[in-house]
Symmetry: C2
C-alpha cells in the first residue's frame, strides 16, 4: 500500500484539496476487505458465525467511543473486526431468518445508493430514485392484478410499518374525521387477523397488534380468528367474529389476511375472505411481507388468488426475493387516499411555484418526511434478473423446501408440526433424539422435547456450521422452523442441515 | 477488462461455483464508477445536478422493468445513468437540505453495512451492530447529560418516526391502559409545540401533527404555541395554552420543544419549558433532529441547556453530523418504558431457553420488528473523528453561516427574515433584484418578491451550479433558507452562492 494509514486521518481524505488519491486508496482498501468477506461468505468451509456472548464480544475489541480521532489504520482494523464477528447472512447454510442471502447486483446497487446519499423526499433531491419507485410500484401493482397497474404505494422501513400504514388508511377511509379529531370521534373499532399472526406465534411477529396499540385502537380490538391445522384462517370463523363484534358495538374496519405466515408459511384463503370483507364493508389488507413474492411465480401464485381484491398489500422484496435489507412495499388500490390521509396542509398552495410536476413528490404520502432510498437495489436486481429470473429463484427455494419435507416426513426421529406439503418454504418439525423417540406421549416427554431445539441451536452457533430458528407455538413445544430464501442453498445444504441436527442432537 | 460483461449475466456471479473472479471483477467495475463519481462530486467545476423534468428523464434511459434479464454490461450502464442524473449531495455547493455532504468513513461503513446485510432484530443476527448501538446510545445519553449515560433509546428510520415513538411513550406513561384499550379508555389529550413547527412552516415538516393523526389523538389536539420573532417558543404562551386546554377538559400529555427548527434554526428555551412541564406533569420531548448535534460542541451546546431535563430527545446524526442517510436516534430517559410500551407478549416465557443475555434483543422496543442497521456508519465516523472531530466540523459550519450572515445583513439588495445572529446554520433572507429593491412596501411588491426565489432556484437547477431551498412562512413571502451541514463547504462557496443569486436574479 502506497500510504501509511497509521499516519493518515479522516481529514486527510476528500473533501481535503489533495485528498483524491488517499481517498481512492482508502476506499479501495475497504472494498478489498469487503470482497474477501463476500467470497468467504459463500464458502461452505467457513463458519456461518464466530459466536461470542455479549460480555465476551465487548472485550474482544475496543468498541468504546473516544474523544480523540483514530487513524485510518484503526478504522480498517475496526472494519475487519466487525466482519469477523458478524453473521454471514449470505452463507448457503444460514437459514435463520426470512431474509437471507446476498445478491451481487443488489449489493452493488446498495453501494451506489449509499454513495448517492439522498432521500426520497421529493423529485428535486432524488429524481432518478423517485422515478424508479414510480415505475416499480406500478409493475408490482400490475402483478397483483390491479388494472393497468393503477393505484398507489410506497416503500417503507419494513413490514411492521407497511402494515401500520395500511391500518391507518383503512381507518381514515371509513372515518376521515379521525385525522383531525382523533379516536374520540370514532366508535370502537375492531380489526381481525389469524391466530397464527397474533395469538399463537413467536413474540416478535406482532405487527398488527403493535399497529393497533400505536394507532390508539388498542390491542383488545384486534380479534383472533381461528386457523385450521395447516395455519390458514377459517373464513367462517372470521364472519362469526365480525358479527359478534358488531353485536358488541364495535365497528369492524380492518381484516389483515396473511399470505405466508411467519412460522407455518400458510396462505389464508383470500377469495373467501374478500367476499366477507365486501359483505361487511371492511378494508381488506393482505400481509404478504413473506409470501407476496410468490406472485412472481407462475407455478405458485395461485396461493394468492384473490389478492387483486385487496385494498392494500404488504410485500417485502427483502425477504423471499433476497433484496438487501431493507425493502418493503405497501401497495394501495385507491389512488389519492395516501395523500389525503397523511398530508397536513393545503401544500399545493405553497408549492405551485415549483417548476416541475409535483405528483412525483412523495413526502406527503406517509408519516415519514424523508425516506431512505430502498428502491434502487430492487430495481437493479429486477433489471438483472428479469421477472423470469426472480421466478426461477423463488421456484428453486420452494423446490428445496419440498425436498426437505419429503426427506424428513417419514424419516425416523422426525415429526412434522403439521401435515401436508409446505405452501411456502417453511418446514416445521421436531427432531426427536433417540432418548426421547420411544417415550410415551407424556408431559415428561414434552418437557424434554421442548429443550431439544434450543440446545441443538446453541451448539450450531458454537460450532458455527449452520443456523435455523426454532420456537414454540400455542401448546406445541419448541420446534424447528426451517425457511429457505437464500438462492445460494442447494440440495446438499439441506442434507447437511439434517446431518448436523442429528450429529448435534443425538445425545439429548 | 478481462470479461465481456455484454455476455455475462447475474447467475454467472456468486454463488455460482466458478463465480469468484467474475464477481470480484464486476463489483470492482461498480466501485470504479462510484469512485469516479465521488471525486467528481467534490469538484466545484462539476454541476450539482444535471436537471431534467420528470417526463424528459423518463425518456433518457430505458427505466422500465422487463421479463427478460439484462447483461451485466447493461447493469453497469444503468449505474452510470443513475448517477449521471442524480443530485451530487456531496458537492460543496449543495445546500438544499439539512442533510448534505458525504463522509468517506461514513460511506465505507455504509458499504460494509450493505455487505453484512442483516438487521437489528436480535443479538443473534447482528451481534456486533447491536453492541455498537448499545455503546453509542449510551454515549449520546451521556452527552445529553443523563447520569452515567443511563436510559434507553433506539435508532429509527428518521425524525418523524422518532418523534412518533416519543409521543407513543408519553401517552403510554400517563395511560398504560391505552395499549390494550385504545383511546376510548383515555380522556382527550393535548400536545403542544411551537407554531414554527406546525402552523407556519413548510409543508413537509409536520411530524408532530402527523404523529398525532396516526396515534388517534387527532391534529386538533396539537396546540400551536406562539414563538418570538426569532422563532423561539414563548414559555408564557405554553403555560397559558396548557391551562386553557385543561379548562376545556383536555389532558396535556406531551410538549415537543424544538432544538433547531427547520426553517429558522431556532432553539426553544428548554429550561423554562421543562419547568412548565414539571409543574403540570407533562412529558417533555426535545425534537433535536436538526439541532441535537450542537451538543457535541462546547461552544454551542449552551443553546440546548435544559435538554437533560427532557423525558425524550430526537437527535438525527444524518443531519448536522453528516452521517450518511438514514441515522436518527430517539433517546429516552426512563429505562424499561420502551419495552413495556411496545412488547406484545410475556415474551421471556418463551425465550428463557435462549443461550445469551436477552437484554440485547431490541425487537420489542419499538413498533418495528426488524430494523435497518443505521448504527455502524455513525460509530465508525465517531471513531475516525473522535468527539473533537465532530465538534470541529459542527463549529466550522456555524462559522460559515455567521460569515454569510455578516456578509449579507447590510448588503444592498438583501433583507433578513429575522434579525440577529443565526443560532444554528440557518440563514433566512430575501434577495431583492434591482427592479423590486426601490419599490414601496405594497402588496404588489410582495407579490413580485414572492416569485423571485422560485425563479432563481429554477435557474440554479438548470445551470446546475448550486442549490438552496426557499419557502414562505406565515405571512412572509418566499425567502431563501440557507443551511450549511456540508463539511466540504468553504468561505469561497458562500461567496459563490451570493454571486450566483445576484447573477441569476438581477433581471427579475
Amino acid at each position: 500500500c502506497e500510504f501509511d494509514f497509521g499516519r493518515i486521518f479522516l481529514p486527510h481524505l476528500l473533501p481535503a484539496s489533495d485528498g483524491d488519491t488517499k481517498t481512492m486508496t482508502f476506499l479501495q482498501e475497504v472494498v478489498d476487505i469487503l470482497l474477501a468477506y463476500i467470497v468467504e461468505s459463500f464458502d461452505r468451509e467457513t463458519k456461518v458465525i464466530d459466536f461470542h456472548y455479549p460480555n465476551q464480544l465487548l472485550q474482544m475489541n475496543n468498541w468504546e467511543l473516544q474523544d480523540e480521532p483514530a487513524t485510518l489504520d484503526d478504522i480498517l482494523i475496526s472494519c475487519r473486526a466487525t466482519l469477523k464477528y458478524a453473521i454471514k447472512t449470505a452463507h448457503p447454510r444460514y437459514f435463520n431468518q426470512l431474509s437471507t442471502g446476498l445478491d451481487m447486483v443488489g449489493l452493488a446497487a446498495d453501494w451506489l445508493t449509499s454513495t448517492a446519499n439522498t432521500n426520497m423526499f421529493t423529485y428535486e433531491v432524488a429524481p432518478v430514485f423517485v422515478l424508479l419507485e414510480y415505475v416499480t410500484l406500478k409493475k408490482m401493482r400490475d402483478i397483483i392484478g390491479w388494472q393497468d397497474g393503477r393505484g398507489d404505494g410506497i416503500f417503507s422501513p419494513g413490514g411492521a410499518i407497511s402494515n401500520m400504514y395500511a391500518m391507518l388508511l383503512a381507518r381514515f377511509k371509513m372515518f376521515p374525521e379521525v385525522k383531525e379529531k382523533g379516536m374520540s370521534s370514532v366508535p370502537r373499532l375492531a380489526a381481525f387477523t389469524s391466530e397464527h399472526v397474533i395469538c399463537l406465534t413467536h413474540f416478535f411477529h406482532f405487527s398488527i397488534k403493535k399497529g393497533a396499540a400505536a394507532l390508539g385502537i388498542g390491542t383488545e380490538s384486534v380479534i383472533c380468528i381461528k386457523a385450521d391445522e395447516s395455519g390458514k384462517l377459517i373464513p367462517a370463523d372470521l364472519e362469526r367474529r365480525i358479527l359478534e363484534a358488531k353485536q358488541k358495538g364495535f365497528v369492524p374496519f380492518f381484516v389483515s389476511a396473511t399470505a405466508g405466515t411467519t412460522v407455518y408459511g400458510a396462505f389464508d384463503p383470500l377469495i373467501a375472505i374478500s367476499d366477507i370483507c365486501r359483505k361487511y364493508g371492511v378494508w381488506m389488507h393482505v400481509d404478504g411481507a413473506w409470501g407476496g413474492s410468490l406472485l412472481m411465480s407462475r407455478k405458485h401464485r395461485w396461493k394468492l388468488d384473490g389478492v387483486e381484491r385487496a385494498n392494500s398489500v404488504t410485500w417485502n422484496p427483502h425477504k423471499m426475493m433476497s433484496v438487501p435489507l431493507q425493502c418493503s412495499a405497501l401497495l394501495v388500490r385507491e389512488e389519492g387516499l395516501m395523500q389525503n390521509c397523511n398530508q397536513m396542509h393545503a401544500c399545493y398552495l405553497f408549492q405551485q411555484d415549483k417548476h416541475y410536476d409535483l405528483s412525483y413528490d412523495t413526502g406527503d404520502k406517509a408519516l415519514q418526511c424523508g425516506r431512505h432510498v430502498d428502491i434502487f437495489k430492487l430495481w437493479l436486481m429486477w433489471r438483472a434478473k428479469g421477472t423470469i429470473g426472480f421466478e426461477a429463484q423463488i421456484d428453486k427455494c420452494l423446490e428445496l423446501s419440498e425436498y426437505l419435507y419429503n426427506k424428513i416426513k417419514d424419516r425416523e426421529g422426525y415429526e412434522m408440526v403439521f401435515n401436508g406439503k409446505p405452501q411456502h418454504t417453511n418446514v416445521c418439525f421436531w427432531y426427536l433424539p433417540p432418548g426421547i423417540r420411544y417415550m410415551e406421549d407424556t408431559e415428561e416427554r414434552k418437557k424434554r422435547l421442548h429443550k431439544v431445539a434450543p440446545v441443538i441451536k446453541a451448539r450450531m452457533m458454537e460450532y458455527g456450521t449452520t443456523m435455523v430458528s426454532y420456537q414454540p407455538q400455542g401448546d406445541k413445544v419448541n420446534f424447528f422452523r426451517m425457511v429457505i430464501s437464500n438462492p445460494a442453498a442447494t440440495f446438499e445444504d439441506i442434507d447437511f442441515l439434517i446431518e448436523e441436527i442429528e450429529r448435534l442432537g443425538q445425545d439429548l
